[in-house]
């Protein structure tokens, strides 16, 4: 969840930071700064800066990190993958909670536990996995996918962009 701050940037330097109080105050501020915004001074930009994470968000990121690792791993590897300076105990708590929910399985290996992400431990869900993704049942156009299909020309363009930026 976003805790909304408004960062006023002029010419690359932060001149003001305001916590979003109310829509009315923001409008008043915006009107007040109208006269100062000229072409010579760069336009004041409103940016939202992320505040504290909501609790569900961190659980989601731990699960995502565990899925990205694949096989059985220890909690410290997961913590490394999550990044962002999360505490080890926090990651452990979350992994335990995910085990209780049945999203993660764990087995003992020496002193530590090894965690694996599992799709459906209890065998409850009967849905065909592929049909969920937007390709199935005409969902490709309705649901907003992260990336749409590429034509061959698009693929070449994209390769060039990626390589060009990597070298530049």
């Amino acid at each position: 969840m976003f805790v909304e701050f408004y960062v006023f940037v002029e010419r690359g330097k932060v001149v003001d930071v305001q916590r979003r109080q109310s829509f009315y105050n923001c409008v008043v501020d915006w009107v007040r700064t109208w006269g100062r915004r000229t072409a010579a001074r760069q336009m004041v930009r409103w940016q939202r800066v992320r505040g504290r994470r909501a609790p569900g968000e961190l659980e989601a990121e731990v699960l995502a990190a565990l899925w990205s690792l694949g096989g059985p791993v220890t909690a410290s590897v997961v913590r490394e993958r999550v990044g962002d300076g999360t505490a080890h105990t926090t990651v452990l708590t979350i992994l335990t909670r995910l085990c209780d929910k049945g999203l993660v399985s764990r087995r003992r290996a020496g002193r530590a536990h090894l965690y694996t992400a599992v799709y459906d431990e209890a065998g409850v869900a009967a849905a065909e996995m592929r049909s969920l993704l937007p390709e199935g049942a005409g969902r490709a156009d309705v649901l907003a996918r992260f990336v749409s299909d590429l034509s061959p020309e698009d693929e070449r363009l994209l390769q060039r962009l990626v390589n060009g930026h990597g070298q530049g």
Partner: protein, 313 residues
Amino acid sequence: MSIALSVALYLPLLVSVALALAAPPVGRRMPPRTAAWAMACAALVAAGTWVTELAMLGFTVVGQIPFVAAQGPWSVVALEADDPVSRQLALVCAGVTLCVVVSVSLASWQRGRVLVGAWRECRRLPATGDLAVVDDPMPSAFALPGVPGRVVVSSGMLRLLDTRERTALLAHERSHLRNRHHLFLLILHLAAAVNPLLRPVAGAGAYAVERWADEDACIVVQDRPVVARAVARSALATGTGRPGALAAAGGPVPRRVRALLDPPRQHRRLVVVILAALVVACCASLALAAHDTETLFEAAMRACAANGHPPVR
């Protein structure tokens, strides 16, 4: 007088078409969030004006059916005499209105069915917070609106991206949910169903919505090239699908990546003013046409009351 009347009756159609043609180039010159709102408003106003005007034109001939005229009551003779619209044209307009109503109903029903089906299936997925993972090697991710909304990601996508790119992906999809982009897409799609001339507007609006989510992801990750890499690598891993016949700048994905690699663009107030002026002109022309149609029917009703004729030919 009747010439002025007929101009006023056809003006909304012209302004609506002008809005439909002007909106996409204007939208390309706006920052994404403004563009998304602008395209949605333009599509709504243009489609609404188009179908309302066609309905009014069609009603000038439908109103001459004795059964309908009896509901008024208004004199069919007077209506037929004063009607500035030729009979054939009015019949065509009435037919087109019917087609539009049918096509919009079909489109909204089909979309609703797809969304409800997807929501019902994904409800069974185990989820943590707002994330649901599907064990599929093919990289794919989408946001499923609902109460609460869910981000559905495949395990292939999670394995493909590194930590910061994953954060960017989740931020992008969460932005879709938080800003209720499915409503924008629904309005744009239905507007395109009303008037096929609005399909470019719907395309521009959908692209602006994706760019909006990309910009929100940039705010979270604070690093534009990372988001660009996430988009590019996911797209390249997904592979080629249907062949595209799109703009010279490439399809939506290369344009998004290029826009992410460039610094964010400035906001130009002039383009917003231009589009707002067109929207207001559209509404004003519709109000004018409605007033003229009302005058026409009122005159027919007065003729009916004055002559005491029953509303039959």
